[in-house]
């Protein structure tokens, strides 16, 4: 299908140059959060609640403060009062108030002259607790008789009569679902559950904070969004944002989990109390798992009506999600719109509640809410396809959303690539490979909105004709390379002549974090605009030199050219020549663009997975895995493939073995990577990828965000493949061997 708006014939876009951070990372030179140090720096440790829910009766730090080398202890009493809303939630999570709300909740922090001494001092801080009743399971938290863990969390949306732990309620839909179910040949309804999972980034949270008695401070921190760190830390500490300068480090993974604060303000509070000495705070892996944001756990009812030919006549969902002990953290607002986003169905009803529980404050995790919703809806679609002996790709093509469809959540889709991914999956060799005994194949599609957001970018031309780009979105997935390619393409200069730097909060206007798969889209779009500004200025400089109108100059191949015969005969003036003379032709040449970026294009994907299940142990081996996803335009295809593979790997982990395991005491049982089982390299086959390119009309080069959609289909695809291999349908993740073996035995009777 030819499109007039689609440009082709790029010189650099679509190529795979070396990553700009590659050498530093493989040689160990890259500076991550914990690599930063300053003279006179202190080290901090945090005292954490060993109880899921407890009143804090007393905190006695006298023994810790008596140790030689201990410089400061902070408790909630050191933080300002009077905060409200999410600022109060952030403060409550940074340091517990009168109650600890989950196992691992920070209660006090100490700074000392060495990390070991700080840990010793933390052990000497005596906290007296009065243990309170707790609840950790999403369904149990809203069951009659469950302890209300915080009073007054319900917002305006919660209907009367719901349990006191219910914080939010949502509903929307269209069409007549009852008529739709009546028109179906089969109507099926099941409940699906997913357990909380952690983003599992390899780099733990780390920062160095410094703040004087005057309330002016600096922080060096591992984060996806340093303006968020600045705003949130300033709110928690009661200081002005302008007085806090935040510089992001290189980042060892984020996946959404580093878009907020957990312990960062503690470094500043300790520093202020220790006379302004810088304070380093580095979390251990156990602290990361106990006290930073995993995603929500979910319990989800789904009902679907289908005709014998595969037409879906109606759908209905009721989702229950918990996002920890704080309201507003579960992704019900994303899960509901994602539930049927891949389909064009005449009648849909969506309902969801958010409930709080004694678990850590949830954070974003790659397409928040979408994987759970996909697990529920796509699993049931697969169950009905198997029952009616219909091909799962054909059923999705028959019911799939397409250009101009009104989406399940309201807006009309402009140009989308779902059907292209389904066709490519159907035609891929993997879909035709015969399956052996105990093997099964699963198919699922997935969706993510993608995001634009507040974006500010600057670009400066160097005296030698190179270009420096200043962006505010930390690079978690290749955005420096992709933005560099787009800027180089626009300027018409080599990729190697463009350096893209992620700069600190003092250097640009406010930037939202790298979230919502927005960095390459939004910072890229702004960088292209900034480059166009610089080009316009360079054309003016050339025009002035040639004595012609700026409009009579055009830019191509990295140089100003006279535009047509009337402009006179002038040899092209290169960016290097213009740069070398800029001091005498009007001064520095730069471009700047800031925008709340619009024109986002959603990304759809379809996955096909083959598994083999050991019928005697219930252990699942992933034999082959195919990701097909629409990238709009793949600026740097290797990074796009990496995002596809990474999303699939995390989704496979969620499907098979990852879960938060709580004991009867409400404590997390598996806060180490030994027992929190993310896939290791040898668990996965090489993940096959197909990049579909249906360019996004809202971006100068057609970019769609690609980072998140990929984690969505694996949950249902893997469970459906296991169902194909065993005849046993797992409706509660993870599909761990004990659960699968029990299901196999139950299916046999």
């Amino acid at each position: 299908m030819a499109r007039d708006d689609v440009k082709t014939g790029y010189k650099l876009i679509g190529t795979r140059p070396n990553r700009p951070d590659g050498l530093d990372k493989v040689t160990g030179r890259a500076r991550y959060g914990a690599d930063f140090s300053l003279p006179g720096m202190l080290h901090a440790a945090v005292v954490r609640s060993p109880h899921a829910h407890a009143r804090i009766v007393k905190i006695d730090a006298s023994k810790a403060l008596a140790l030689d080398g201990v410089k400061a202890v902070v408790t909630r009493a050191d933080l300002p009062t009077g905060l409200t809303g999410e600022d109060l939630n952030l403060q409550d999570n940074t340091l517990a108030g009168d109650r600890a709300l989950y196992d691992g909740h920070a209660v006090a922090a100490v700074a000392a002259t060495s990390a070991l001494l700080a840990q010793d001092a933390a052990r000497l801080i005596e906290v007296t607790y009065e243990v309170l009743p707790h609840v950790t399971d999403v369904d149990a938290a809203m069951a009659p008789g469950a302890p209300v863990i915080r009073e007054g969390v319900a917002d305006y949306s919660v209907p009367e009569g719901m349990h006191g732990n219910v914080a939010r309620y949502m509903e929307f839909g269209h069409g007549d679902v009852e008529a739709g179910f009546a028109a179906a040949d089969i109507v099926r309804e099941h409940t699906y559950k997913t357990e909380a999972t952690h983003q599992g980034y390899i780099e733990p949270h780390a920062c160095v904070g410094q703040m004087g008695e005057d309330g002016r401070g600096e922080m060096w921190v591992c984060t996806q969004g340093h303006w968020y760190i600045r705003r949130m830390s300033a709110a928690v500490l009661g200081i002005d944002a302008a007085n806090l300068r935040v510089t992001p480090s290189e980042i060892g993974g984020g996946f959404g989990g580093k878009t907020t604060i957990f312990m960062e303000p503690l470094s500043l509070a300790l520093s202020r109390k220790a006379g302004g000495r810088p304070v380093k705070l580095v979390m251990s892996r156990s602290e990361v798992l106990r006290a930073t944001g995993p995603t929500a756990s979910a319990s989800m009812d789904v009902k679907l009506g289908m005709k014998k030919d595969g037409t879906i006549t109606a759908g209905q969902v009721y989702f229950r999600m918990q996002g920890g002990a704080f309201p507003g953290m579960s992704p019900i607002g994303e899960a509901l719109p994602c539930a049927f986003a891949c389909y064009d169905i005449a009648a849909l009803k969506h309902e969801a509640v958010e409930v709080i529980a004694n678990r850590p404050k949830a954070a974003a995790y790659r397409a928040p809410g979408s994987p759970m919703a996909a697990f529920a809806v796509e699993s049931l679609v697969d169950e009905m396809c198997r029952e009616l002996k219909l091909d799962p790709i054909e059923v999705r093509l028959k019911n799939g959303a397409t250009n101009g469809s009104k989406s399940s959540y309201g807006p009309v889709y402009n140009v989308i690539g779902l059907k292209e991914t389904l066709e490519a999956a159907k035609d891929h060799p993997n879909y035709a490979i015969p399956l052996g005994p105990n093997q099964g194949r699963g198919v699922a599609s997935g969706f993510w909105f993608n995001h634009g957001g507040e974006t500010s970018v600057s670009l400066a031309v160097g005296e030698d004709g190179t270009a420096t780009v200043m962006i505010g979105t930390p690079d978690i997935g290749g955005s420096r390379a992709s933005i560099g390619l787009m800027v180089a393409e626009t300027l018409g200069i080599p990729y190697e002549d463009v350096r893209v730097n992620v700069v600190e909060t003092g250097a640009l206007g406010v930037n939202e974090p790298t979230h919502g798969s927005r960095a390459t889209f939004a910072s890229g779009k702004a960088a292209v605009e900034a480059a166009r500004q610089a080009i316009a200025e360079m054309c003016r400089r050339a025009a002035a030199d040639w004595g012609i109108d700026a409009e009579a100059v055009e830019w191509k191949d990295g140089a100003a050219h006279p535009a047509g015969p009337n402009a006179g005969k002038h040899p092209p003036m290169t960016i290097g020549e213009i740069g070398s003379k800029m001091g005498s032709t009007g001064g520095p040449i730069s471009g700047h663009h800031e925008v709340t970026a619009e024109g986002v294009g959603a990304s759809f994907g379809t996955h096909v997975v083959d598994v083999e299940v050991d019928p005697e142990t219930g252990r699942t081996t992933v034999l082959r895995y195919l990701v097909v996803q629409d990238a709009g335009t793949a600026i740097h295809p290797a990074y796009v493939e990496g995002q596809y593979q990474g999303g699939a790997a995390q989704g496979i982990g969620w499907a098979l073995n990852e879960e938060y395991v709580y004991g009867a005491d409400g404590r997390l049982q598996n806060p180490v990577f030994l027992d929190y089982r993310i896939p290791v390299a040898s668990d996965l086959p090489m993940i096959d990828t197909v990049i579909i390119e249906v360019p996004n009309p809202g971006h100068p080069y057609g970019v769609r965000g690609v980072g998140e959609t990929g984690i969505t289909p694996p949950l249902p695809a893997v469970a459906s493949a296991i169902a194909g291999a065993t005849g046993a349908r797992i409706r509660s993740l993870p599909c761990s061997p004990p659960k699968v073996l029990a299901a196999i035995k139950a299916a046999k009777g």
Binding site: S284, E616, T617, V661, N670, D675, P737, P738
Partner: protein
């Protein structure tokens, strides 16, 4: 913390006997150092045994067995031709411990004395009939490996006693062993169930067998009933079914974050059957054994 580097096991035992606080021995350190970093243990005395001559050696005993020093790391065992030939099941158990980096340090003696019911090298040693030499203030004594663990994190060793070597018996003719573990992933994981089988054949018939089960009780179980289920058989279907049933009966697991009781019992039977078959094929030798 006091860090000691004795140059003899007698000195090590003397230091240990005189210690009054928390004591840990350091061989590879892949458990102790991790526990110290995690704040699980803070030793008052840490006795590093690697300065004692001979602890990094594997030597053949006069009767054809193998004496293994307490600091020999897994990677050396895995590359030792004689050990791999005689006791592949013992070697493969040790090779499953940790990552490649951990393999460069982790030792059989440390894996044993850490006292984990899920230790991957211990069932193989017990099935093999390995002995340990224990040195204490009153001298040395030899005890079977299965006499060392006393429960999670505990051993039967008395105050001042330290394991000073591990000895595998001579393999002899027509023998084979195997260790299998169940983990949900492919590596970097801890056994949910482990099983080692060592056996000897006379022709096609099993004449000796030892079956050890890991992670299904507070200590590794040496199951006589499981051994008897296959002794005198050619490991036909009836024998493997009886073996699985005996292994299931011997297993006394708990339900925890790594697996349910029911799952562990089922998998103990499955692994016993599979391990016995591999050990049997190894005993038959490559020319005679079936291709598994």
């Amino acid at each position: 913390m006091r860090y000691h580097t004795p140059t003899s096991f007698a000195d090590a035992a003397a230091i240990a006997a005189g210690a009054t606080g928390t004591l840990r021995f350091l061989a590879g350190g892949t458990d102790v150092l991790v526990q110290m970093r995690a704040g699980m243990v803070q030793p008052d005395d840490l006795i590093d045994l690697k300065h004692i001559p001979g602890v990094d050696q594997v030597v053949q005993t006069p009767d054809g067995g193998w004496k293994i020093g307490i600091a020999v790391p897994g990677i050396v065992l895995g590359g030792h031709e004689g050990l791999v030939r005689d006791w592949p099941g013992v070697v493969e158990g040790m090779s499953l411990v940790g990552s490649t980096q951990v393999q460069g340090r982790a030792t059989l003696a440390g894996n044993l004395c850490n006292g984990s019911p899920a230790a991957d090298s211990v069932p193989g040693l017990i099935a093999a009939g390995a002995m340990v030499t224990v040195t204490g203030p009153k001298g040395s004594r030899d005890i079977p490996v299965e006499a060392v663990p006393a429960g999670p994190g505990k051993t039967t060793l008395a105050k001042g006693e330290v394991v000073s070597s591990i000895t595998l018996p001579p393999r002899g003719k027509n023998g084979g062993d195997c260790y299998l573990r169940f983990i949900p992933r492919t590596e970097m994981d801890i056994a949910v169930v482990g099983c080692a089988v060592s056996l000897r054949l006379d022709g096609d018939k099993i004449v000796e067998a030892r079956v050890a089960l890991g992670a299904v009780a507070p200590t590794v179980i040496l199951s006589e009933a499981a051994a008897q289920a296959i002794i005198g058989t050619t490991l036909d279907d009836a024998a493997t079914a009886a073996l699985a049933k005996a292994a299931e009966g011997a297993a006394k697991p708990i339900s925890d974050k790594r697996g349910t009781k029911e799952f562990r019992i089922d998998v103990a039977g499955v692994l016993a059957r599979r391990a016995a078959q591999i050990a049997y094929d190894r005993a038959k030798g490559p020319s005679k054994g079936s291709q598994a």
